[in-house]
Each structure stands twice: as C-alpha cells, then as structure tokens.
Symmetry: C2
Subunit: 185 residues, 2 copies
C-alpha cells in the first residue's frame, strides 16, 4: 500500500481535540490542498472561512445545537443531547465552506475540497471531522447574523464545515459496507 | 511537501487515455479508497458501478452528448461540439456513483469518495476525470434504459462519474483563484 492509500485508509473522523492551536504553516498547506480540488467546469465558486476565535466557535456551536434540538430529526437530537456533545467538538480551528448559491454541483466540488483538506490534515499529523449539521446554524436569526460576522461573501451559502486540531482521541475504524459495488464488463 | 500534499498538487484532470485497460488490483484499490471516504452520519447510501464494456461506455457518451446538444447551456454545448469531444473521454473504465435519492448530503459524500478515488488513481500512476455532465444521460428514455442495464439499485440516482485509465496527455495545471479565503481570529 503506497502512502496515499495508507493515508486514506488510516484517517478517522476526530471528535476530541487538544487545546493547542495548529500552526499557520499547516493552515496554509490545508487550504492549498482544498483549493487544488477539481471543480465542475473549473468554476471554483467556493469560499473558505478559517475560524480560530474560540469564543465564536463555541457560540456557533451553541446556537447550532439549540436549533438542532428545535428543528432536527431524532437522530441528530439524540447526538446533540449526549453529554459533552458540541457541533464543532471544541476544535481550535474550523473551516467553513460556502459556495455561490446560484451555481450547480457545488456540494460535489466542496465534498472534494473538504476531503482534500481532511487528507492534508492527516498527512500533517492533525485530526479533522466533516460537519454537515452546521447548516442548522442558519435556522435562527442569531445564526444568520453570525454569517455576517464571518464575512461570508454575498450570495454564498453554507455547504459544510471541517474541524481541525491535534487529535486527543483516535477511534477505531467505522464499519464500511463493502456490498456497494457492481461491475459491467 | 509530503507525499500526500504532493499527490494532491500534481493530480490533473485527464481527458486523453491510452487504450490499455487498468488492472483489477488497481480497480480494487481505487474502490477501497472511495468506500473509505467519510459520509454524513456514516450513512454510506452510495453505490459504485464499474463500467468496463467499451461499447457501452461509447453508447452512453453518445446518448449523453445528444442530450447535451438538446438541453444543456451554451457552455456545455460548445464543449460537446469540439472535435473529438466525448463525455467519458474514451476512457477504458468509468465508475458511476449513484446514491439513495431520499438521503441528504449525498453529493457531499460522493464528492469526497470521488476525490479519494481520483487521488488513489494518481498514486497508482493512473489518470482520472470527474464527470458531472453524465447526468444528461438521464434526459432521454434510451439513457434511462441504460441505468437499468447498469444495474443501479432501485431508488438510487446518478450523482457523478469518474473516468479512469492510463494517461495519454497530461495538461498544465489550471489556474486556481487563491482569493477565496478569509480569516476570523
């Protein structure tokens, strides 16, 4: 197994982080990896917001979780009400991906970019976790106001977030269903 | 730069392939990389169809391009009418990603899986290209019939394709817009 396959294989979603902030060099390497992802038609209608203000991350998490408890399904509510649960897992860095709301294929583009950033983080010894439930931030006026505070470009909408930090706990691999392939030869 | 960052940096979208088919070991390594991508809620509501029947790939391409000329915007029509243009670039292998149409976040999940497969391919010396215009296959009854021929699971819908093969031409890097980041610290 080469180093790339090994990195893909060994990466886990990390939900517990050390307090220590990640280095600026690592932030830049991770952003570069995201920006290098391919986009449909080379459109690049995306935006990366790097959030490292702890108070703001925790405020975003708490608004998101309130909205989850109000509007989400039972699965998400259950997860949000577990002891110590927090949308961004108290990570010291969160990258929010937003994209031009008028553009097609932006989830596909942002999925590729976020995976590139997650693999880049793993290669640098850092942990990461895709966060999709952060869209519940937008379900209340306080959350919408935070998007302004974040400086998201006009006409861009939330797609997902990636948490980043030093791993404080690495879980066992999740089971993968291998029965999801067919062949036409 | 470590090997993972280097792989992300050096990968290009390949649109010209050699005739030679890729090995079964490489197909399996690439699928494994796709299946190892994270999914929202670990839902894994995706399916990977490996297509290696050349006649079928070319037939899919020709139906797709007819539909593009009929229904797509000027940008796509222009690309489809370029000399030698073909939806799947005459690649010997195409992986179609489909996903449960009732499930949220599937484009994000499939974007991450497709990028994993593209990086795995690059690490194995193979070329790849994300194809999103393949959704035009579904715009005509012959195209819908092909989805049956492909054995796509009931209730699953097309998300994107990835072409795979030995590179016959490696283009220069595309320009990336670096002005897509802001910081909140």
């Amino acid at each position: 197994m080469n180093e790339i396959l090994n990195c893909i294989n060994s990466r886990r979603s990390i939900r517990k982080y050390k307090e220590r902030q990640i280095s600026e060099a690592d932030v830049q390497a991770i952003l570069e990896a995201g920006i290098l992802a391919p986009t449909a038609r080379n459109q690049q209608k995306w935006h990366f917001t790097v959030i490292q203000k702890r108070e703001l991350i925790e405020r975003m998490a708490s608004i998101t979780m309130e909205n989850v408890m109000r509007y989400a399904d039972e699965h998400l509510k259950g997860r949000a009400s577990m002891p110590g649960a927090s949308t961004f897992h108290h990570a010291p860095t969160v990258i929010m991906m937003t994209a031009d709301e008028k553009t097609d294929y932006i989830e596909l583009d942002c999925g590729a970019a976020t995976e590139n950033m997650a693999l880049a983080a793993e290669s640098l010894g850092l942990g990461s976790c895709f966060i999709a439930s952060s869209r519940y931030l937008l379900k209340s006026p306080e959350g919408v106001a935070i998007m302004k505070e974040l400086g998201i470009p006009e006409g861009y909408r939330h797609v997902c977030c990636l948490t980043l930090g030093y791993k404080d706990f690495t879980p066992e691999p999740r089971q993968r269903n291998k029965n999801v392939v067919n062949y036409v030869r």
